[in-house]
């Protein structure tokens, strides 16, 4: 479903702030893979997701989604294939627009936007049902401005928007990191549900090793712009936090593989 080959990215090349964020990343995801991504700060996790989403062009390498080469496709054109939820709850929704308007925008992802009505009566009914499943009491607040919602509500809404039209690839960039533990658990639970239901190919970055182990069928670890660990199948099922720490030490040759390095 996703093929990343030899992707490299350097920011501010040729200046004192030069930072090589991706040093040749190769990653293949099968249809329906749910991959969790861990790694310390600056390991290149978010950079990898942004490269796939097309926030900026990569320096080298190719990216294809479902067999389509998207390497040179602009961000808004790739959106056709990708659903995204960001770390910052403010980033995924339009605060000054209503809940139903946000959903209607998401429902038209990848389509031509014409002079037809921005939202139809039939859609409203559908959105109401979908919001009911979220169980956040949003189904009666369709015309509320999204800016008035809490961070957790906004993330849950963004998740719904990202998956409203089934994406070929779902990118979750630490989407629960800014939430309190209880809300984070709820949003994660909703994530698990929607990924399972539609059998979505998913890349989820997390800072929480426990979550990385508990969710998905595959786990990758990044270090200094490369994928240094890739565990799937039975190995992933029996993985423990201790294993992960030990493996990290072996792979990177670092003896200081402690929580700090991994959890930032």
């Amino acid at each position: 479903m996703l093929d990343v080959t030899g992707v490299r990215k350097t920011f501010n090349a040729g200046t004192v702030n030069e930072k090589t964020a991706l040093r040749g990343v190769d990653l293949h995801l099968d249809d329906g893979d749910f991959v969790t991504v861990i790694g310390g700060n600056g390991a290149g996790k978010s950079t990898l997701l942004n490269a796939i989403a097309g926030v900026w062009p990569v320096d080298e390498g190719t990216i294809s989604i479902g067999g389509v080469d998207v390497t040179h496709l602009a961000e808004h054109k790739r959106a056709k294939y990708i659903g995204r939820v960001f770390q910052d709850p403010m980033m995924g929704t339009a605060a000054s627009m209503q809940i139903e308007e946000n959903l209607a925008l998401a429902a038209r992802r990848g389509q031509r936007r014409t002079l037809k009505r921005g939202i139809t009566a039939r859609e409203r009914g559908e959105y109401k049902e979908m919001l009911k499943i979220l169980d956040l009491g949003l189904e009666d607040r369709l015309t509320t401005k999204v800016g008035l919602l809490s961070g957790g509500q906004r993330q849950a809404l963004t998740l719904l928007m990202a998956t409203l039209r089934r994406p070929d690839l779902l990118l979750l960039d630490e989407h629960t990191a800014a939430l309190d533990p209880k809300t984070a658990a709820k949003v994660l639970e909703a994530t698990e549900r929607v990924v399972k239901k539609d059998n979505l190919t998913t890349l989820m970055i997390t800072h929480n090793m426990r979550d990385a182990i508990d969710h998905g069928n595959r786990l990758i670890m990044m270090f200094e712009g490369k994928i240094v660990l890739d565990i799937s199948g039975e190995d992933k099922k029996h993985l423990t936090v201790e294993d992960l720490l030990a493996k990290f030490g072996q792979t990177t040759g670092s003896t200081e593989a402690d929580d700090k390095l991994l959890l930032g």
């Binding site: 602009a74 808004h76 959106a79 990708i82 995924g92 998401a106 038209r108």
Partner: protein, 315 residues
């Protein structure tokens, strides 16, 4: 007593001016409030609208057709600013300033079309010689030639059209662009395209306002648009401050910009009667806009302090 009487006498004219500038204020509303861009093109495109319309009318064109051409000219100006901003990566404010400056030269040329001199700084229109849609001469008339009738209909048509447009898929994508560009792109919206579209629509309206203004006041001068952006902002801000609580619907929000423009012109008329020179108005307008723009900032500061105090007493 005399002053009050003369103020009331000039009220219809103030309303006429306000309605025309209201169309311009709606244009500013689109860029400033919806797209979150301060577009300085308008200082030039207002005059361009007036110049195109005035030239065509003096050449004997049908005034409606002249109005249409003025709108198209304004839209082209918006297109230039939009492309400078998106395709060339120039910051929006600077892109607007560049277009505005270029339009100054262009406007002088436009006004000289059909004339022997290469450039011209003003054009006169008169309801005696030219066929005009609106003229301030009849602003107190009780007949159908009263310009206020047509102006009110024009404003209503503009608001209705925009209300429809911003409810469409395309219009919604424009609003999303201004609200959150990241979100818009993640949902597949080409934010460069929507920004250009917003600037085109906005400057089309501004040029329409300029075209109406040239006819209404009976002249188009090269300086007509100087500081137009500030007057537009004043109208938007006055309308917002006064009607925010009551006007929540989008159409009413646009209407509040028009009402803001009318109130602005009433106040201007009043201070002129109080003995201010018309050349002092730009100072006054700038001061009013500065104060109103600063209010939210000070409000925020003030309320934050208050919340802290409350928090302590509860702790």
């Amino acid at each position: 007593m005399n002053m009050i009487q003369s103020f009331f006498n000039s009220l219809p004219n103030a309303i006429g001016q306000g309605l025309i500038w209201g169309v311009m204020a709606i244009g500013v509303y689109i860029t400033y409030k919806i797209l979150d861009i301060a577009d300085l093109t308008v200082d030039g495109s207002l005059t361009t609208g007036g110049a195109v319309c005035a030239v065509l009318i003096t050449m004997g064109w049908d005034p409606w057709l002249a109005l249409l051409m003025a709108i198209i000219a304004g839209m082209l100006a918006g297109l230039v600013t939009g492309l400078l901003h998106t395709a060339c990566g120039i910051p929006a404010i600077l892109a607007g300033i560049l277009t505005q400056l270029a339009l100054y030269s262009l406007n002088l040329r436009i006004m000289a079309i059909g004339d022997t001199s290469p450039t011209k700084a003003s054009l006169a229109l008169s309801p005696d010689r030219n066929s005009l849609l609106v003229s301030s001469r009849f602003v107190r008339s009780l007949g159908l030639n009263n310009p206020l009738i047509l102006l009110i209909l024009a404003v209503a048509a503009v608001i209705a059209l925009l209300y429809w447009f911003f409810g469409t898929e395309l219009g919604s994508s424009l609003r999303a662009t201004g609200s959150n560009g990241n979100m818009a792109r993640a949902q597949g919206i080409n934010t460069d395209k929507t920004k250009v579209l917003g600037l085109v629509v906005s400057n089309g309206l501004v040029a329409l306002s300029g075209a109406l203004l040239a006819q209404y006041s009976g002249s188009n001068t090269i300086d007509m648009g100087r500081g137009a952006i500030v007057i537009g902002l004043a109208a938007v801000i006055i309308g917002e401050v006064l009607f925010k609580k009551v006007f929540r619907n989008f159409a009413l929000k646009l209407l509040s910009a028009v009402l803001g423009a009318i109130i602005y012109y009433m106040v201007i008329t009043l201070v002129l009667r109080l003995g201010l020179e018309s050349t002092d108005l730009k100072l006054l307008t700038a001061a009013v806009v500065a104060v109103f723009l600063a209010i939210p900032h000070f409000k925020k500061k003030y309320f934050t302090k208050k919340a802290k105090k409350g928090g302590r007493s509860h702790a």
